[in-house]
């Protein structure tokens, strides 16, 4: 069981390179330079980085826009709000979809759940255990498939899986037996004793998934697991997840982040829609269709995530603006074309 209550996280945004400091007036130069000093400050959300860069560049290039954004600076530092207010309830024996556009804050939220980053506000609990207070216990009862899912290329798939089992405190034999079971479940027995170096995307994915589940966790958190998988592999994954949800499979609590609507429609018992760092809707697919008054889930999602004006009929506008990134400081590119030089 996973509960997330009103978490928020902001980062110092990376600033543009120094050369953009060729602003006309002194005030503008100082602001641009201040942003550049913070360039070293890093933060974890790749999608947000790009947007923050665009922001900072626009801010430095056009003095007026930068000053308009002054509220967004914290001292001289640009703040990037990756997650503002996300809440989620994922009960056992259910698949909960975390649906949101790129840069909505899904990965950041899941990283907070894995205790990799500390939230600025809000609480995260797994089986009633507070992540901030007892992170190791949370990690022990959760299987995370993170955004980055690198394997050790010189180890075999089996060794990759058993290594994680051992890190979870399992005996080598037990971990090995479990690797065998998982391999059967994900149809990868033939892979087990091959080195990971030559694996295809799908094979890597399966190994990473087996690795995340080696300790038979009660909670399973998957960050965009179908990325890069072909149809058959995606179907196999869906079947496995459905089975894990059943009492025979262990009635796991499964949280599944994705930006693909079809995945959610086919698989999830309930959906949490996240946009611009906030939870904007929660319910079953049917609930969400009913709330928005749409018959097509994609339309319903666009309405929920981007607001009604960006749904069908506003296609032109959708194409001209960048995808939303959960960052309200974003400067409209059309406005700064005059100021940038």
């Amino acid at each position: 069981m996973i509960e997330i209550r009103g978490v928020a996280k902001s980062f110092a945004a990376p600033a543009p390179p120094r050369r953009v400091a060729w602003a006309r007036t002194r005030g503008e130069t100082r602001l641009a330079a201040g942003a550049a000093v913070d360039a070293a400050a890093a933060h974890p959300d790749a999608g947000a980085i790009a947007n923050a860069r665009a922001n900072a560049k626009a801010g430095a290039g056009a003095g007026a826009n930068a000053r308009a954004n002054a509220g967004a600076t914290d001292g001289r530092r640009l703040r990037l709000h990756a997650v503002r207010d996300v809440s989620l309830d994922a009960p056992d024996g259910r698949i909960t979809g975390l649906l949101g556009p790129n840069g909505a804050g899904k990965t950041t939220t899941l990283r907070m759940l894995a205790a990799l980053i500390a939230p600025d506000a809000g609480t995260l609990r797994v089986d009633g255990i507070d992540v901030a207070a007892r992170p190791r216990e949370v990690l022990a009862r959760t299987g995370f498939l993170s955004d980055s899912r690198g394997l050790y290329p010189r180890l075999t798939a089996r060794e990759n899986i058993v290594y994680y089992g051992a890190l979870h405190g399992m005996e080598r034999e037990a971990a090995d037996a479990r690797a065998q079971d998982l391999a059967r479940m994900f149809d990868m027995t033939a892979l087990l004793d091959r080195r990971a170096a030559g694996f295809s995307q799908g094979e890597r994915m399966k190994t990473a998934l087996a690795r995340a589940l080696v300790h038979d966790p009660a909670n399973i958190v998957l960050d965009e697991p179908t990325n890069g998988l072909d149809v058959l592999a995606t179907r196999a994954l869906r079947d496995s997840l459905r089975w894990l949800r059943t009492p025979e499979g262990g009635s796991k609590c499964i949280v599944f982040s994705t930006h693909i609507m079809q995945e959610v429609e086919r698989l999830c018992d309930s959906v949490v829609v996240v946009a611009r760092g906030r939870t904007v809707a929660t319910g079953t697919v049917g609930d969400l269709l009913a709330t928005t008054g749409e018959s097509d889930f994609e339309e319903a999602f666009v309405k929920l995530a981007f607001g009604p004006e960006r749904a069908l009929g506003h296609d032109e506008r959708l194409h001209r603006t960048e995808p939303d990134d959960g960052n309200e400081q974003r400067v409209d590119p059309r406005r700064d074309s005059g100021g940038a030089r």
Binding site: A114, L151, Y152, E159, Y163, Y164, L167, G169, A212
Partner: protein
């Protein structure tokens, strides 16, 4: 705590087998670092042997031999074989195809000698041609002997004591022991051994930190319930083990190297037995541990292996340049040398080769420095690990 120790061992085992499976890198390190020392030793011994054999050959090349029967007589009395120099000796000396200096005797040598006109005899060599340069002083001494003999004969004919020519006598007394003298040649061995340790640690250190980030395997690794410090300690242990393995291999590689020494003199001077090898290993192990930690600390900040290689150049440079303080003998041995990593180890290993005893202070200070560096490096990596994973 017991769980954490178990995690250290799990990580250590995995990282070790991972590093040892990187056969190509290991082979490169072994060939370039471990075999390099003995090969250089072999080359030096070859050079010394050729110099020795040249000295034993007792040959002298003279251009215009027919002009100087007296000189020839003298040289042959010194049991030298006198040979006529080839006509194009100058060109051949320049091209380094001829390796002996040539004595050029003028046409009127004998007549001038009789008249007491002190004829000019040239010793032609090319200082860019090292092999010919080496025997020049020998020829100089030989010709000096001829001059002295002539002078003594003339004085004796006039009834003057030969002692007048030498109002004082000069004698050499060299304080250096055979071993000390040998370090002039074998002094570079510690340097090679240290490079082996450095390159042994380098790849493994970069692979377990920056490499892990580049592969995207650090973030999932941190989603395990193991303590951060346990993960880092395991990684460090593996890197230090690889580096120590290379250190031991490299120290032992000089043992057989000794048997193949072609120069008897060098073999006699180069005292490197099991005792010296053991001392080398004792000196190097803490350095291997410290280098592993420092390299990891440098690399954890880098996103890619390539970036880490660029950053680690600073460490590589420091370890390669510090011992040069010894090699160039800048101001002799100073107390601070013991506090500088790499330099301290170089100093100590040189002492071992010289056959000098090592005091407790000399063992303890570098050890303390290495332990402190190790602790600092491991602490820093553990601190940065989480930040690095999500960057």
């Amino acid at each position: 705590m017991r769980r954490s120790l178990a995690a250290v061992i799990v990580v250590l085992r995995k990282e070790l087998s991972d590093a040892l499976r990187d056969r190509r890198t290991l082979a490169t390190v072994v060939v370039s670092s471990v075999l390099m020392g003995p090969l250089v030793l072999l080359a030096i011994s070859g050079l010394v042997a050729s110099l020795e054999s040249r000295a034993e050959q007792r040959e002298v090349y003279v251009a215009g031999l027919v002009n100087a029967p007296t000189l020839r007589n003298f040289l042959e009395r010194q049991t030298y074989v006198v040979k006529e120099a080839p006509a194009d000796f100058e060109a051949r000396l320049r091209r380094s195809t001829f390796s002996d200096p040539v004595v050029v005797v003028p046409a009127d040598f004998e007549a001038a000698l009789v008249r007491g006109d002190s004829p000019v005899v040239e010793i032609v060599s090319d200082s860019a041609n090292q092999r010919s340069e080496a025997s020049t002083s020998r020829i100089e001494r030989l010709l000096g002997g001829f001059s002295r003999e002539r002078a003594l004969l003339s004085l004796a004919l006039r009834g003057v004591s030969a002692q007048l020519l030498e109002p004082m006598q000069i004698e050499d007394r060299d304080l250096a022991s055979t071993q000390t003298r040998a370090t002039r040649i074998t002094g570079m061995l510690p340097y090679f051994v240290m490079m082996a340790v450095l390159y042994g640690a380098l790849n493994a250190a970069l692979d377990t930190t920056a490499g892990e980030r580049e592969r995207g395997s650090l973030e999932p690794l941190l989603m395990n319930p193991a303590e951060r410090w346990a993960l880092v300690a395991g990684k460090w242990g593996a890197v230090a083990c690889v580096s120590m393995l290379i250190a031991v291999l490299s120290c032992l590689s000089f043992l057989p190297g000794q048997w193949v020494l072609r120069s008897d003199t060098l073999a006699a001077m180069f005292q490197y037995g099991p005792r010296e090898a053991a001392l080398f290993i004792v000196i190097l192990l803490p350095l291997a541990a410290a280098l592993a930690a420092v390299l990891m600390a440098v690399a954890i900040r880098c996103r890619t292996f390539k970036e880490a290689q660029a950053s680690s150049t600073v460490v590589v440079l420091a370890v390669s340049l510090l011992p040069l303080v010894n090699v160039f003998d800048l101001g002799g041995e100073a107390p601070w040398h013991l506090w500088a990593p790499a330099l301290a180890q170089n100093t100590l290993m040189t002492r071992v080769l010289k056959g000098e005893a090592l005091g407790a202070e000399q063992i303890v200070i570098p050890l303390v420095v290495c332990v402190a560096l190790t602790a600092l490096g491991v602490w820093y990596v553990a601190r940065e690990l989480q930040r690095a994973a999500v960057k």
